[in-house]
Amino acid sequence: MIEVGAAIPERTFTINRGLLKAYADASGDQNPIHQNEEFALSVGLPNVIAHGMLTMALVGKFVTDWAGGSAKVTHYGARFIKPVIVPVDTDVDLTVSATISAVDENSVTIDLTATSAGVKVLGMAKAVIKK
């Protein structure tokens, strides 16, 4: 049911170093903090971290699958509150769920939750979908 308070079932994506390399190539964001552990540590990070925009792209996939296609999304925003940490040779989770927060004649607004290793990585994540 499309009604305020309804939950959209949780889904888990897998992030690993291979995906970070693929996203770097597809997005053009080759910042070494997303690929080079030595560099990441040298700038004070705990390890290589995922691109915030990769996290947002995967959460976006959750949104567009539920919405019925990329063309349905008119607004999408999030704050990056904690990094997704991606150690070498490790699959880490990105677990996404959502709740419908507003419904009007033309659109549905959903509030998104995204965690990795139990830590909330996005804040104030929201999407508006055309009906």
């Binding site: 693929a22 190539d25 915030g52 925009m53 996939k61 990329s70 008119t74 607004h75 999408y76 925003g77």
Partner: protein, 129 residues
Amino acid sequence: MLNPDSVGRTFEGANSITVTQSEIDAFAAVIGESDTTVAPPTFSIRISLEQSQSILSDPSIGLDWTRVVHGDQKFEIFSPIKGGDTFSCSSTIESYRVAAGNEIVTVRSDLKSGSAIALSSWSTLVVRA
């Protein structure tokens, strides 16, 4: 530090960027999206971050891009991007403040098709002290 005169100003970027279907396909493939009739909602970051970087790194504006981390991101999509679309780009420095030595800059990037805005996005960038 950012030149305070640049706050509130709009800077013109590339005046003709054409999105190819293969760029959309490659971006979509990373997130497991097989329907690429329109681009995924965050695809435009590929254009807007590069445009913002080239504009804001200009010595007359003075943002130190090597110290930038992404604080938040928002998209308003008026018309979904398709392969073959051509856009002109502009970036507006909407707000700027310094907190605990970090510079916090919000930049709006517009992709225009003719005079119509197809997509606006807002990136809050934190330049770490």
